[in-house]
């Protein structure tokens, strides 16, 4: 193949490197005002009064909005969210009022002058406390802080545990993780004279925002157009509608002029839809010969104060829980809970890192208890191609054995360290993830149009969204391959808006290369057929250049343009009420190996080396695939070793990059990436998704390496020096 499989540099790399890409922070519309939101400093309380008189006295202020100035619309995943809070605040950071002014200083000054009286109510921060009888209720209408219970079961669980030779169990605690996008949240709203709204919004879900924002604003979705500027990272943080999007639209409507809202870094920390705090109680049983017999999980997931995508993570967890490894009996309960904390959302991996830390730790514990090699133990229980799991997952391509063997051959036991207080060890962990979309909406589809113009330029207009992951380049390579043209002749219209692009559910679930890739491939194939038909009908020679054929077809009597549109929706189903079903058209497999050195006197862990092997079906662009793997490994390393939101009385204590630690370049070890290509039958040119899997197994691989080095099991992230030191001392 000439384009697919080539290491084509990212098409947007030069613009990004030279500052030419336009993010929402770079956009300025004529007459544009800046917006600022006044936020609650009380974690839970009844709003007694909001007096905005003084705010209006700041020179230049053009609008001050509170709940009584806006449509009384309730919206959100569970219909518990409003743009501006009128009667109740449920967390520090809740939106109380909003100001538009010519500059951010005036808007901020005006917000500071608003007088708010809030009568504090008892607040609740921990999930177990929130479920206890008599706990303060966040949403009285729900009758409880319990949002939803997700159940799943297959096989005979009690029997499995009763005949086990070895049972391991443990409680695992996972922190809230911040996305920390380079580009903080923001949006610009402008209304035209006909009452139609245009949003410049770096969202991951333009077509769902079109529907959801219209609902929140009480307007018709037909009057709303979403334009996405260049997106400064997302990782799941832009997967829902958030109050600021409604607020900026309301301010623009009120003032009759464009309004922009940009979050400061502090505000971004305070409002980021973090990865949910999760507590997993898990036990796993195996027979003496290393056959897995059963697993049993009880899980709590923190939604925060309002229900957003954090509440859906049990749906992904259960997919792994029911499908991964041959496990004849499995029982699962996950409860989602509201607390007076930052609402939680989607984050790369979406539940899978939270579940696989426990699962892969216990795989390691069982292997050791049964005196088996951890890779042999996994191989013995591994899924295979062309099998249907008890959960209803249909496995097509499967490179699980290959990724395990790839790590086995590359991860060597290190030499003993020089100093007695240093200990070295190695560990492995595996991942199973959706790789062919994930049908969590009724449609998991994506539309694409390919046109070939008179000059041989190929334009791809695809519903998919580039959040920095390289969608643009991957789609160009797929179209180029199918049309037999050079990648340099393909343009992907990444700036096209929802009026122009065909529908797509959004960028999530590692789905874009697979789903949008298939849509583009099919549209390009159709365009190529049109060209070849024209060539034949016009009796042009086989070596006539493409542009010449297109022009000949265009400029004849009853001429035709070369253009094809396709909607691709994968052959999958939503899960049923019992959480059974085949949600993805392909599944991906991966294994990470880690080598660590532990300072047993200080608890400091240095990750020396990482091997990351992933079955990705086919690498459309091996360089970008390696980039995705390295990025995922680093973000997963941060989750495992450094990152957590530390709360005190509902307030984040480390909402800035000094004390919210993401890995820096000196914290990142050598990463050896292995791409295993299994040529998936449904994927475009055999490709499967790779966006999320690499963030998942790195944490448990490191934890297993720490156990190998020291004999101590870590069951809480992040594995900071102090936590490891406490674990080494046998206390907490």
């Amino acid at each position: 193949m000439k384009s697919v499989g080539q290491r084509v540099p990212k098409l947007d790399a030069a613009d990004k490197a030279t500052g030419k890409s336009r993010y929402v922070q770079d956009l300025r519309l004529p007459g544009m005002l800046e917006a600022k939101i006044l936020r609650s400093q009380v974690p839970h309380g009844r709003i007694v009064s909001i007096d905005v008189t003084e705010a209006w006295k700041v020179p230049g202020v053009r609008a001050v909005l509170t709940a009584k100035d806006i449509p009384a619309k309730v919206w959100g995943y569970s219909k518990d969210q409003v743009a501006l809070k009128g009667d109740r605040v449920r967390r520090i950071g809740d939106e109380l009022a909003a100001v538009a002014a010519p500059d951010i200083e005036a808007a901020t000054e005006a917000c500071e002058r608003i007088k708010v009286v809030i009568e504090p109510l008892p607040a609740v921060y921990g999930m177990e406390a929130a479920l206890a009888p008599g706990a303060p209720l966040l949403h009285a209408a729900r009758g409880s802080n319990l949002v939803q219970t997700h159940l799943y079961e297959h096989g005979r669980i009690e029997e499995a545990f009763s005949k086990a030779a070895k049972i391991v169990e443990g409680t695992f605690v996972l922190p809230a993780q911040q996305h920390g996008c380079l580009g903080p949240a923001g949006a610009i709203a402008e209304w035209d004279a006909n009452g139609r709204l245009t949003m410049h919004d770096p969202t991951q879900i333009p077509f769902l925002v079109q529907r959801d924002l219209a609902e929140a604003l009480d307007i018709s979705p037909a009057d709303l157009r979403i334009v996405q500027p260049c997106i400064g990272g997302a990782f799941g943080a832009r997967l829902d509608l958030y109050p600021h999007e409604a607020i900026v639209a309301l301010l623009a409507k009120k003032t009759g002029t464009p309004v922009r809202i940009l979050f400061s870094r502090d505000e971004d920390f305070q409002t980021d839809p973090v990865r949910p705090r999760t507590i997993v109680r898990l036990r796993t049983a195996a027979a003496a010969d290393g056959t897995l017999l059963g697993r049993d999980a009880d899980i709590l997931v923190d939604c925060g104060a309002y229900v957003s995508w954090g509440a859906m993570t049990p749906v992904v967890m259960v997919n792994t829980f029911g499908n991964f490894y041959h496990c004849p009996a499995a029982r699962y309960r996950a409860r989602t809970v509201c607390t007076n904390t930052q609402p939680t959302g989607a984050f790369r991996g979406f539940g899978n890192p939270e579940l696989l830390f426990p699962m892969e730790t216990q795989m390691d514990e069982l292997a050791r208890a049964l005196k088996m090699d951890p890779i042999d133990f996994r191989l013995k229980n591994a899924n295979r191609a062309e099998e249907t799991t008890p959960a209803g997952g249909h496995i097509t391509s499967c490179g699980f054995k290959e990724v395990l063997e790839a790590v086995r051959t590359r991860l060597k036991r290190p030499a003993a360290p020089a100093a007695p207080h240093l200990k070295r060890g190695i560990g492995v962990a595996a991942v199973f993830h959706v790789g062919g979309g994930a049908r969590i909406y009724r449609s998991d589809g994506c539309g694409a149009t390919v046109k070939v113009d008179d000059f041989g330029k190929v334009v791809v207009v695809v519903g998919a969204t580039d959040i920095g992951q390289g969608m643009e380049t991957a789609m160009a390579q797929i179209a180029a391959e199918e049309l037999g043209v050079d990648v340099s002749m393909v343009r992907v219209a990444t700036q096209a808006d929802t009026d122009i692009r065909l529908w797509d559910v959004g960028v999530h679930a590692s789905r874009t290369t697979f789903i949008a890739g298939n849509a583009v491939r099919l549209a390009a194939k159709e365009a190529r057929k049109q060209i070849e038909d024209a060539r034949a009908a016009l009796k042009l020679p086989a070596d006539a250049p493409l542009d010449k054929v297109v022009r000949a077809e265009h400029f004849r009597q009853k001429g035709r343009l070369i253009t094809a549109s396709v909607f691709y929706d994968p052959p999958t189903s939503m899960v049923d009420k019992a959480n059974h079903g085949n949600v993805s058209a392909a599944y991906t497999w991966g294994c990470h190996g880690a080598e660590v050195e532990v300072d047993t006197e200080t608890g400091q862990v240095v990750v020396k080396r990482i091997v990351a092997a992933h079955d990705i079906g086919r690498a459309i662009n091996p360089m970008h695939a390696e980039g995705q793997v390295e990025g995922g490994v680093i973000q997963g390393l941060g989750y495992a070793m450094f990152e957590e939101c530390v709360l005190k009385d509902g307030r984040m204590q480390n909402g800035y990059f000094l004390d919210y630690r993401m890995p820096g370049i000196r914290d990142i070890p050598e990463i050896e990436t292995v791409l295993v290509e299994t040529n998936d039958p449904e994927g475009p040119f055999g490709a499967k998704g790779i966006g999320e899997p690499p963030i998942v197994p790195i944490g448990p691989a490191i934890a297993n390496a720490i156990a190998d080095a020291t004999g101590v099991r870590m069951r809480e992230f992040p594995m900071t020096p102090e936590r490891v030191w406490r674990a080494l001392r046998g206390n907490r």
Partner: protein
Amino acid sequence: MRAFAYEEPRTLAEAGALMARPGRNQLLAGGTDLLVRLKRREWTVDTVINLKRIAGLRGVEARGDHVFVGPLTTLDELAASELVAKRWPILVETVHEMGSPQVRAMSTAGGNLCNASPAADLAPPLLCLDATMKVWGLRGERHVPLREFFLGPGKTALEPGEILTEIRIPPALAKGCFIKFCTRRAMDLAFVSVACAAVGKDVRLALGAVAPTPIRVLPSVEEAMKRCAPIDDVRASAEYRREMVRVLVRRALARVAS
């Protein structure tokens, strides 16, 4: 960031006059601490007084019986000084543990000390080197030993209107080590820092981040444990910090002895 007046005095006298004006007047050196506080609206100041136009406050040079380090010397310049590298490699080692290349290009030696963070990285090695702070004020000049300079978190012996004009280091060579203990391997604040230096046969020890100020202590694990008074905060618990003092002081003393 709230609005403020901005001044660039050319002499210490001009700076002193500006400092004497009513309101909150804040000196600006590298700005890597001040600008963060202003942008986060933690501080409101009436006037920012940039010291960079005042001659004679920057650079490293031998002067008679001591070495002059100008307070506006950037961390990069400090580490690049041949004089420093030859006499006190511990200072070079310390600078390399501080911030990022961008921060080291902006932030100054004087700013790091006058900010008076208990975790200020330059403080422990300079305490070991017996540095003295030369201070200018409208009422005259005075010298304050670094050991007496820090009064508490964010508090120094500088009186209102006084400006640090020199970090004075005795010329004796020292060999030593700086251990900065933190979670990340760069761009982090110390939970505990330990500087240990041998000047001739005299072994000196100083600690950071485990007391309200950086402290010089007698060179033994027992003395360090006795003198340290760490707190619980978002970075580490007091208990853990105390135990790390034990481990790291032992290691630092052993390294200097070897």
